[in-house]
């Protein structure tokens, strides 16, 4: 992994507060969906960047399993948030409860990894918390895009009752784990990984905007937006890849040991 060109703290601040703002503003008729798309992008970019930091350590299994674990934790927190806020009749608390419960679960799992399994990685707890936070924000933004609001009762009817949450979960796993898993290596670069992440986001949004057909009349707009975004980000990714290929040619052969990867 190369050094961060965009600092992780800035990505965290922007995606956490920006994502929460996008979720809370998703009630607005036309702009709400576009804000949800912005929330999806912010959360995914933050998740990918957090994964870049923990992915370079060997945790015993591959990179995708980290994201599987933390997205499942995110979904459990999300379910708890929805059910509790419907019961307490406090819709405004839904993202907060989901985020807090996911973070607590991720922290417990990271302490088990540290003290019971002896995985000595300093940033383990921090990365686990970051990725679970990103996955919760991502899944909530996806559900606000589908149900056009953040009210838990509506999300419960539109996303959970028909089982769409499993699809959303698998899509969010793919979109977070794929870019780093595809780009990792001695010449990994933040811009290239994140641009592949953007490509994946827009590819996923094409499917998501088709899922919005029953709930939103603006689905064709989201579809157009995601197709245009996909073309732009894919061209960007190709450009970064060509740049990196040139620098590999200049560097010479691959390193002798793969500890630095």
């Amino acid at each position: 992994m190369s050094d961060d060109l965009i600092p992780n703290q800035i990505l965290f601040l922007v995606s956490f507060f920006g994502g929460l703002l996008c979720i809370y503003l998703s009630n607005i008729p036309l702009m709400g969906g576009i804000l949800s798309i912005a929330g999806i992008s912010l959360a995914t970019i933050f998740g990918i960047n957090a994964l870049r930091h923990v992915g370079k350590y060997s945790l015993g299994t591959g990179v995708p399993s980290i994201v599987y674990l933390l997205t499942a934790i995110g979904v459990i927190g999300y379910l708890l948030g929805i059910v509790l806020t419907i019961n307490l009749n406090q819709p405004i608390l839904f993202p907060i409860i989901a985020i807090i419960s996911a973070i607590v679960l991720a922290l417990i799992v990271s302490y088990i990894c540290k003290y019971l399994f002896g995985i000595q990685v300093d940033i383990l707890a921090k990365s686990f918390i970051s990725i679970s936070l990103a996955s919760v924000l991502l899944i909530i933004s996806m559900s606000t895009l589908i149900s056009q609001t953040f009210i838990p009762q509506v999300i419960y009817e539109n996303v959970i009752q028909n089982g769409m949450i499993i699809l959303l979960m698998l899509m969010s796993v793919m979109v977070i784990q794929n870019p780093y898993n595809a780009c990792m290596g001695p010449n990994e670069d933040q811009y290239r990984t994140l641009s592949l992440g953007l490509t994946n986001i827009f590819l996923m949004l094409i499917v998501l905007s088709l899922l919005c057909i029953f709930t939103s009349k603006y689905w064709i707009l989201y579809l157009l937006l995601s197709i245009i975004g996909w073309i732009i980000s894919f061209r960007k990714y190709i450009g970064y890849t060509k740049h990196q290929v040139a620098s590999i040619k200049r560097y010479g052969l691959w390193p002798k040991d793969d500890k630095e990867i």
Binding site: P64, S65, A72, I73, I76, L79, N87, L105, I112
Partner: protein, 234 residues
Amino acid sequence: MLLELLICLIIGSTLIGIGVHFIPVGGAPAALSTSAGIPTGAPMITIGMGITGILTAITFVNQPNYLIIIAGAIGSMMMISITMFFSNIMHVYGVGVPIASSTFEKDPITGFNQTEYVSQGTKGHGIPTVSFLSGVLGAGLGGIGGSLAFTSIYSELSASLLDINLVITITTIMSLMLFFVIAVVASYNIGGTIQGFYDKKFKQKILPGALSCFIVSVVLSLIYALIVWGLINV
């Protein structure tokens, strides 16, 4: 009632966690035929096994509880046996290597010597008979655990929610999430490859694995009990 659910969930998730340790996992090296075991990571094979087990368990909904649990176990065992069988066929007829593992000298069931057949520089290839048996056993444990969790959540929810499709959907979501979390935690404990219960690594790994899965399952069961309580009172 909720206490019963809690105990069933804790037992079920701990069984899943113990079952993962029995599955012979080779990871990426096994895909290159340089290590024995199933050629994928432990989480992936466990999640696949869990999904198959739960799908089989759903078809037995409204039957007695013990039938649902047996169906889940059989579904998982069938899925893993088919995977291991075709992995072996690929290794023997596709790659062209004999099936052997370097983690033990003699297969206790067939009595075949292993070391002579292991290629130099590798840790074995394919899935020997004892590892195959261990995998089927582990899948059985995992299937029993998953379908135990499924039945407990299902019976709790179907007593108060009327829509049966909704109950099945929510129960499936919740029991699948259990597999996703427990499988990855158990595979962090394994840390790479393992060849089933006859492996020396198994003895070192099983105690911390069971303990950690128990701790995680207690936390998860508390959250699940809260979710079920909320769903009943919606």
